[in-house]
């Protein structure tokens, strides 16, 4: 038993404190942007999330790889108050544009997602609230990295909160923001 404890201590010493090793970091702007683009944008017109940054250069603050000689390291991946402010404003800008799409499409989407948007933009009508439409919208933005309970919580919130009766422009923007600020969307597992 003592030998086992000594081995465990040595392992911790060798690999660092567990709290450091076990913390998910941001995926970073390029990864999030690529994932989102591959799901909702046409292949020849990729979507770049940094269009929605509040100012140029801030993508470095929300997780980015950098190289120095043969060293490659990921910086600013640990969430903090500043990075959360930047993600909030960036994703608020992006979500706002999705909401605007309902009244005046500002950009072109991949055809499957465009069909989903057309349906969800009928909010607060029943067609927008059916399971297929909501799940389709969720999966398009989130992908398959979140457990079902996250989807259920999100769906139930929008079907029962004051957003239930709000106009599409406002509700769709809020739905997108709630998905994109979810840890399953922003963090590496």
């Amino acid at each position: 038993m003592k030998r086992l404890a000594a081995l465990a201590t040595a392992a911790v010493a060798a690999f660092g404190a567990p709290v450091l090793a076990q913390q998910a970091e941001f995926k970073g702007m390029p990864t999030v942007s690529r994932e989102l683009s591959s799901r909702i944008a046409p292949r020849d017109l990729p979507l770049e999330l940094d269009w929605f940054l509040p100012a140029p250069g801030l993508d470095y603050l929300v997780g980015r790889w950098s190289s120095f000689g043969s060293e490659h390291s990921f910086h600013n991946g640990t969430p903090n108050a500043l990075s959360m402010v930047i993600w909030h404003v960036t994703l608020n800008n992006f979500s706002g544009k999705l909401g605007e799409w309902c009244s005046k499409p500002p950009f072109t989407f991949e055809s499957h997602f465009a069909a989903t948007m057309t349906r969800i933009c009928t909010w607060p009508q029943a067609q927008a609230k059916d399971e297929d439409t909501m799940l389709s919208f969720w999966v398009a933005l989130m992908g398959f990295s979140a457990p079902r309970e996250e989807y259920v919580a999100w769906r139930d919130f929008f079907l029962t909160s004051s957003y239930r009766d709000k106009p599409a422009r406002e509700a769709v923007a809020a739905m997108a923001l709630a998905i994109t600020l979810n840890p399953h969307f922003l963090l590496h597992r």
């Binding site: 450091l20 076990q22 913390q23 509040p54 250069g57 969430p79 402010v85 963090l187």
Partner: protein, 453 residues
């Protein structure tokens, strides 16, 4: 270059923003405000072009290169310490009562790479670890949770630092744009139906164990402080577009310090001092002239930007100007008139000034001061070809080089970067358990108490 009056006007406006209410008292409202600025010269800057010069007779003897071609002048510190300074330091003469110069600072004796020595400077370990900059906050009682450790208004320093989550690059032009947008976006406030839902999902994911839960817990902490951070950042005023980079950066730092956004700043000069080839080495006079100009602008901006009605930013900020190491005196495989220079981790020059530092001192020295000075046995054990200057044995009581020449190289006889960092730690009341050791199985490096104001 901006008009100083304009800068003063800007500074006063920044101070005025403190009149607006904030939810919690800003860090800057502390009775004894104390901030830190690290100015970094990347690539290994050769101190023989600034404050550790050699006489031309040494170049004539083929012992040291000199692409400036001028005899350096003697600079005597208030403590009687001396050094030779080149004309490239002349723009700094009027500021020499603002900082002290530490020569002969030994870095890591075992590694001569950039990354290892940058890591050693920042963390005390050539392979990286915790940077000393965030440690400056650990002794702060009632530290606001949303305070960042440092803002970096330039390119960040490449290193293997593990505690840089709150050391964030924030360029003046980005900060201005960010503030502008933040004024038009509602902050992440409690009581908003949507924000509360988003936070509830983050909190739900933060419960339990595992990587995602730990990351979500960090997100939750960030979101808790996001509204406060949002409000503070929204109050940053963008600098005038025609200001130079240094003035813009100081105005951003000053606002971040006053608004309690960060307590430290790290400024990396854009010049690259890594001059291995003769062609690169020959450009050093221009390189240093440019860098010294920037450092003068940074000091001037700190002096002329008010912290409050009575104090300048320099009055409340400790400033450290450093590089990862100095360079070899020459390369032995090329003539002294057409040589490049390589890395010399046995010697470095660091300037310390501002709050808490006794200015105008010349501390320590490097050896091989001229062509006549013989190398010690300790020196020869490290550098048998006499390509490098080595820090002279050091008297911690007088802050001057010792006159004896020990036969073996022992870090306990030298001024090391660990002592420099421990001196900064002592100024910020960092607990002694964080202080740097001289090495494995060696004692804690002594701080330079005589350098403290």
């Amino acid at each position: 270059m901006i008009g100083r009056r304009k800068l003063l006007a800007f500074g006063a406006a920044g101070a005025g923003t403190l009149m607006f209410p904030v939810a919690r008292p800003a860090f800057a409202a502390a009775a004894d405000p104390h901030f830190f600025l690290l100015i970094m010269m990347g690539g290994g800057a050769d101190a023989t072009y600034t404050y550790d010069a050699r006489p031309l007779s040494m170049t004539a003897a083929g012992r040291v290169h000199n692409y400036l071609g001028e005899q350096p002048g003697l600079l005597r510190g208030r403590n009687g310490g001396t050094l030779l300074a080149t004309k490239l330091t002349w723009p700094l003469i009027r500021l020499q009562d603002r900082f002290s110069i530490l020569n002969g600072v030994v870095m890591t004796p075992s590694f001569d790479g950039h990354l290892q020595n940058v890591n050693f400077l920042l963390t005390g370990d050539p392979f990286g670890g915790e940077s000393f900059v965030p440690h400056l906050n650990v002794a702060t009682a009632r530290r606001p949770a949303d305070l960042l450790d440092a803002v970096v208004p330039t390119n960040p320093i490449v290193s293997n630092v593990t505690n840089d989550a709150r050391m964030v690059p924030l360029r003046p032009e980005s900060a201005g744009g960010l503030a502008q947008q933040l004024r038009n976006v509602a902050p992440f406030r409690q009581g908003d139906e949507l924000m509360d839902f988003i936070k509830s999902r983050v909190a739900a994911n933060a419960r339990g164990t595992g990587r995602l839960a730990a990351g979500a817990a960090r997100m939750e902490l960030g979101l808790n402080d996001a509204a406060e951070m949002h409000a503070r950042l929204a109050r940053i005023e963008p600098p005038e577009e025609d200001w130079n980079t240094e003035d813009k950066s100081v105005s951003l730092m000053a606002q971040c310090f006053r608004l309690g956004i960060a307590r430290s700043a790290v400024y990396q000069l854009p010049e690259n001092f890594d001059t291995h080839s003769p062609d690169e080495a020959k450009k050093q006079p221009q390189l240093f002239a440019s860098a010294v100009g920037r450092i003068v602008d940074l000091f001037d901006a700190l002096i002329e930007t008010p912290y409050d009605a009575k104090r300048s930013m320099l009055d409340v900020t400790t400033v450290m100007v450093a590089t990862e190491f100095t360079r070899t005196l020459r390369s032995s495989d090329a003539p002294v008139t057409a040589t490049g220079t390589h890395h010399n981790q046995y010697c470095n020059t660091i300037w310390l000034g501002g709050k808490g530092i006794k200015p105008g001192l010349v501390v320590g020295a490097s050896d091989l001061a001229d062509e006549k000075q013989a190398a010690s046995k300790a020196h020869l054990s490290l550098d048998p070809h006499l390509e490098r200057a080595v820090g002279r044995p050091f008297d911690f009581a007088t802050l001057k080089p010792r006159t004896d020449d020990p036969e073996t190289f022992d870090l306990r006889n030298h001024l090391t970067v660990a002592s420099v960092i421990n001196t900064v730690y002592s100024l910020f009341d960092v607990p002694r358990q964080r202080w740097r050791m001289l090495g494995r199985n060696l004692p804690v490096a002594p701080s330079l108490d005589g350098l403290r104001a």
